[in-house]
């Protein structure tokens, strides 16, 4: 499944993450992450985002995320909501 429109979920409040999904003309999944804990958990957060996208059959998108210290389940929930808003 390709992302065909821009959708967003989440907030910029503490313990949350703002996820924006956009179409990617390259046809791949590209994740851009800004996080208050980028150095400590950047790889892990990206891995969660990627696996959530893949679990929902996403093969192409530009995923921009601003993380404010969200736990794993919040990241998953926000990515899922952004995907759901594509439908």
């Amino acid at each position: 499944m390709n992302i065909t429109q821009t959708t967003q979920a989440g907030t910029l409040e503490s313990n949350d993450i703002l996820v924006t999904l956009k179409p990617n003309p390259e046809g791949t999944i590209e994740i851009h992450l800004q996080s208050v804990v980028l150095k400590q958990f950047g790889k892990q957060i990206k891995a969660i985002i990627l696996s959530t996208l893949q679990n929902h059959g996403i093969t192409s998108c530009l995923c921009e995320c601003e993380d404010k210290g969200a736990l794993d389940h919040v990241i998953i929930a926000r990515v899922e909501s952004a995907i759901q808003r594509q439908l």
Partner: protein
């Protein structure tokens, strides 16, 4: 017995996370009025994942679902059927909405009927008897006054009939009576006075809309230690007299009989159940 029910908007990840360490006896995750229309589904998704992941320790968890006539109702109830959830708060509780809820809610879950419409007040006798899943009545003063087209005041005369009717029905059918939120968050003295007032009518608990209200509610619901001590003395003396075949006696100049004994016993039981 829960003394406080704290509303937490299910759209707020941080508040859901912190709810597990707050002092409230029960948490109501709100999918209804506390969540903007365009965030409803996203809030439910967040709540589902939070319930799956977080340990809410000994908190009693409720979900305020959306109205039975809304598009969100069915999925909200399915979310509330989660094993960690104790039950639902049913908004605009009326016969029709309660029937709809009972059709889809897991039979192990309890229902707190949120009485916030004139019809809901009038239908209290039926609502109390429709299902053993109904365990409590919760007054929604804001929506009720809106439904009646009157201004909501701190004195609360506009919800006086509903408030008294609700507690009387709760007592008659052995349900929890939970009072409406106190919306002036900074006014702790006003909250304290209102809690004491409704407790004197028989209300068991109050809804909090801010964590800072919880402590005030708990303090205001505490029984006066002198009254508690006196109740213990009455119970002890009555049970002693009863073994001697005496049903009425004088204790420190006060006549003690069965109703006085039962009232004292009830006060002790209530206080002991309230003490965490």
């Amino acid at each position: 017995m829960n003394r406080s029910y704290l509303f937490i908007p299910a759209s707020n990840a941080g508040m859901i996370l912190s709810s597990m360490v707050l002092d409230a006896d029960a948490i109501i995750f709100d999918l209804e009025d506390g969540v903007a229309l365009n965030q409803k589904i996203s809030a439910r998704t967040l709540l589902q994942h939070s319930l799956d992941t977080l340990d809410f320790l000994d908190k009693t968890l409720y979900v305020r679902i959306n109205n039975a006539s809304s598009d969100f109702f069915l999925e909200d109830v399915i979310c509330a059927n989660h094993p960690k959830v104790h039950g639902v708060v049913l908004p605009k509780a009326e016969i029709k909405s309660l029937e709809a809820c009972l059709k889809v809610l897991d039979p192990s879950k309890t229902i707190l009927c949120l009485i916030e419409s004139a019809l809901g007040v009038i239908q209290l006798p039926q609502l109390c008897q429709m299902s053993s899943q109904v365990k409590g009545l919760l007054l929604g003063g804001e929506d009720l006054s809106a439904d009646c087209g009157v201004e909501r005041t701190q004195a609360g005369h506009e919800i006086d009939y509903a408030r008294k009717s609700l507690v009387m029905h709760a007592k008659a059918f052995k349900l929890m009576a939970i009072d409406t939120p106190f919306v002036n968050i900074e006014d702790h003295q006003g909250l304290r006075e209102e809690v004491k007032y409704v407790a004197s009518m028989g209300y068991d608990a109050k809804v909090a809309i801010n964590p800072r209200q919880v402590h005030v509610i708990h303090e205001a619901l505490k029984v006066d230690p002198l009254k508690f001590k006196e109740a213990k003395m009455i119970v002890e003396a009555f049970e002693k007299h009863r073994t001697q075949g005496i049903g009425v006696f004088n204790l420190n100049g006060k006549m003690i009989d069965e109703p006085v004994y039962l009232k004292a016993k009830h006060l002790i039981e209530k206080e002991e159940r309230r003490t965490p």
